[in-house]
Amino acid sequence: MRLTLLLYQLSAFLLYALFLIFLAARAFPWTEDRYSFYLDRRKIGLWPSLATFCATWMSAASITGFTFWLSSGGYAAFTGSVYGWLLGLLFLPFAVRKLRTLRVLSLPEWLSKTYGDERLRKVAALALVMAYTLYIVIQFRAFGTIVAHLLSIRITLASVVVYLFVLYTTFGGLPSVVRSDGLNLAIILGGVSIGAFWVLGSAGSPLEIHRELLRSSPELLSPFSGEPPLYLFAMLFTWAFGVASNPQYAIRIISAKSSRTAWKMLALAPFVVGWIYLCLTLFGLGSTLLFSAPPGVDTETGYVLLCTSVLPPLPAMLMLVAALAAAISTANSQLLLAACALCYDLGLGEWNIPQDEPFREDRFLFRNRLMVALIATVALALSLLPLPGILALGRYSWAVVTLCFLLPLYFPCGRGALYFPLLGALGLHTVLVFFTPLSPEYALFPALILEWFSWKLLLRREIPHAA
């Protein structure tokens, strides 16, 4: 059995690697410029947009973290994550027109153009680089753990594999990321669907699973099972605000062929991600009846144990590869955005290149790729260090993103005076997270409130000056 499983896993991994290599082999075309590298010339049609949006949405944290939490903690996983993610999705249609009108290449650029302050762009770009580097660490760790299990190899070697895959798919810019995302979404959909159906076959229909849980572990069916409601609500809103203001979704809205395409993409996305969550929920709840994870096990290992213990070799392998695909699709998207923030928004890509240099764009894009490699290397190094768990890192990154973009995108107080409130909010959040016992999701709210009030206050002080 062990050998059969290994054979399946090895074949699946090899096939995935070959497909990825084939699909994303378009790195370094000469004809590209930053507009095509970052946005694929804003000509991405509905289906590729939908595929890349959903594939980026389903990160390794979503698949492994949610499934394992659901399996061990019950419906509280919904309250603490999925509700938040889906709530965040409801915000996004309101950003479509705002984001597309200014024809910008990045969200920090949108911020500076909308609020007329170049400093905002620099601060937001710095925050993005930091937040995304941490978030990429999550993807590397999840991928590393899963590949290490799939192939019975060391995590370090597995992390090198993910590092190379992510580099490879990001060198080609957004066009290459979109292509690989199509494959990744297909794998995720296939994997979670087969996994869910198999569990339904073994554990019974959803109603039967529910009844059995009601009988054996009723506490799992409570929306706050085992967790303080305040904590779950804080988490819910952290995820919701994070999704609403996350540049990785905003950039998919900007790069869509038209506003109509973007709206259609946002209208169809809940069905795709909803299906994936449904499958993961059925799998997670069903597997609660079939297997109980040993205590103290971390999320990634827990997910691997869940898949391999509950499912036969083929579906287990598909579920594991789905998590790999999710890790790659999220990591390459974030890596591209982090490189964009460094090279385009912070100006490293054009630093020391004369204005009249005829091949300026070519040099700029080459530097982008160097930055992609640099950020990925830093993330790889960090992924091998004993940092906090997946969801903790994710929450911190998303809180930073929320502070930068939530208020300016959805609740603007006025047209200026945002710089110091934003700086203050980021500073307060960092102090609260690192120097007090507050977790990132709790620290987010005082920081957001500070940002909003100080913005209002500064605007009021500015208006008499202007008058």
Binding site: R2, L3, T4, L6, L7, L10, F13, L14, A17, L18, I21, A25, A27, F28, P29, W30, L151, S152, I153, L157, V160, V161, L164, F165, L167, Y168, F171, E357, P358, F359, D362
Partner: protein, 427 residues
């Protein structure tokens, strides 16, 4: 069919080669391992066959289960249907019972795969690395060629373009880039020479015509001037206004004819030492009224102060006057016009810099041609006369322009006092 790019070919070649090598290496490793284990198993089984008659059936079964995982045991009495290629070995126990052992190659292959899984993982890493190296190699080779194509396109649009030499580029590419740059420089030089020859031919023809026409116009103008003066003596106040206009227009015509004649025949060129400082002061005095009118400042920076050029004083006065008049017209009110003089090797550099809006692009290539002017009221002769005078002095004139101003640079021969020894030799 669209030809495939060099980048695609390199990626395909490297990917195919890498895949082939990986297949060869992994199959060699797996086959070698398979052969080695198989031979080992056969040897071990032979040895077991020899010692089996000394072992009882129960011990033999335990031994087989622990040490021979790739063999299945069948008692002699059991029906055994074996494929013709399968390896089966009979063992006779101490009790005389015959056990038939069947070898399972698939089980062994699976075990080998598990033991050698690192080879497969390293193969995938190698493949991805090979692809990444292929992409970089293709980029390194294709990039200069693309740059070359782009530069050729720009040259076709008459925009001179030199290629930046990449220090890390392959030698052949560097050679190609250097050859291209040399070709561009030669073409530029050739174009300049061609332009100069063309200009000289046109100027010669124009000069002849202008000299003839100017001469013919000059005489009637002199007559008109005499009669105008006579009329003025006997005219009334009302008529005086009209006569004044006639007088002004005649002055304008005279100036134009004088300019045309200067252009056609720049006059006697008795070359001698001309003190640049003196030349600039003269120019400043001549133009003081116009400068004051626009509230402009004329700055002089001659270093060394006793700097002298070898040339004709009247012609150089005309040259400087034309350049400064040009600057004066272009400068905004309260601006600065800077006159400069310096030594560079055996030549003297005379410069005039203004803070005007720069030379319009459409006249830039024909700036020194006659009748080309950026101002609607200009004759377009000032700069062409200046260029002519510079030519007659064996010098060179060039300019740089930006929206912040224009800078004219005139190279003239430097006057050097001969030493007593040289004087003696000359006499």
């Amino acid at each position: 069919m669209r030809p495939r790019s060099i980048s695609f070919r390199i990626k395909m070649a490297v990917a195919s080669l890498a895949l082939l090598l990986i297949l060869l290496l992994t199959s060699t490793v797996f086959y070698g391992e398979y052969r080695w284990i198989l031979e080992d198993e056969v040897q071990r089984m032979k040895a077991l066959q020899e010692i089996a008659p000394q072992i009882d059936a129960a011990s033999l079964r335990t031994l087989l289960r622990r040490s021979f995982p790739f063999w299945d045991l069948h008692a002699s009495g059991e029906p055994l249907e074996l494929p013709p290629s399968s390896l089966s070995v009979p063992l006779t126990t101490r009790e005389g019972a015959v056990l038939v052992l069947r070898f399972h190659p698939s089980r062994m292959k699976g075990e080998i795969l598990f033991q050698q899984r690192h080879v497969l993982v390293m193969s995938v890493i190698g493949l991805v690395l090979a692809m990444e190296v292929a992409i970089f190699t293709a980029y390194t080779l294709a990039r200069p060629l693309h740059q070359l194509a782009k530069a050729c396109e720009r040259i076709a649009k008459r925009k001179w373009q030199l290629l930046p030499l990449a220090p890390g580029a392959p030698r052949e590419i560097l050679l190609l880039q250097k050859a291209f740059n040399t070709m561009v420089e030669e073409l530029q030089h050739w174009q300049q020479v061609q332009h100069q020859v063309f200009r000289m031919e046109r100027l010669a023809a124009l000069g002849q015509m202008v000299a003839g026409v100017s001469h013919e116009i000059r005489n009637p103008l002199a007559g008109m001037r005499v009669h105008l003066d006579l009329l003025r003596e006997s005219s009334s106040c009302e008529e005086n206004t009209s006569l004044q206009i006639l007088d002004t227009e005649l002055d304008r015509l005279n100036t134009l004819v004088a300019q045309l004649l200067t252009f056609a025949r720049p006059g006697e060129s008795v070359h001698g030492p001309v003190l640049l400082e003196e030349l600039c002061i003269w120019c400043s005095n001549i133009l003081s009224v116009q400068l004051e009118k626009k509230n402009l400042r004329l700055l002089r920076k001659i270093s060394p102060r006793a700097l002298r050029v070898l040339g004709s004083m009247p012609q150089l006065q005309q040259l400087l006057l034309n350049l400064v008049l040009n600057a004066l017209q272009a400068s905004p009110p309260e601006g600065i016009i800077a006159l400069g003089g310096s030594v560079e090797g055996d030549t003297c550099i005379l410069s005039v810099k203004d803070q005007g809006p720069g030379i319009p692009d459409h006249i830039a290539p024909r700036l020194f041609d006659p009748f080309v002017s950026g101002h609607p009221e200009g004759t377009g002769l000032g700069l062409s006369i200046a260029a002519r005078i510079v030519d007659l002095h064996g010098g060179a004139i060039s300019w740089e322009s930006s929206p912040k101003g224009t800078y004219f640079r005139v190279v003239l021969p430097l006057y050097r006092e001969e030493s007593p020894h040289e004087k003696e030799a000359l006499s």
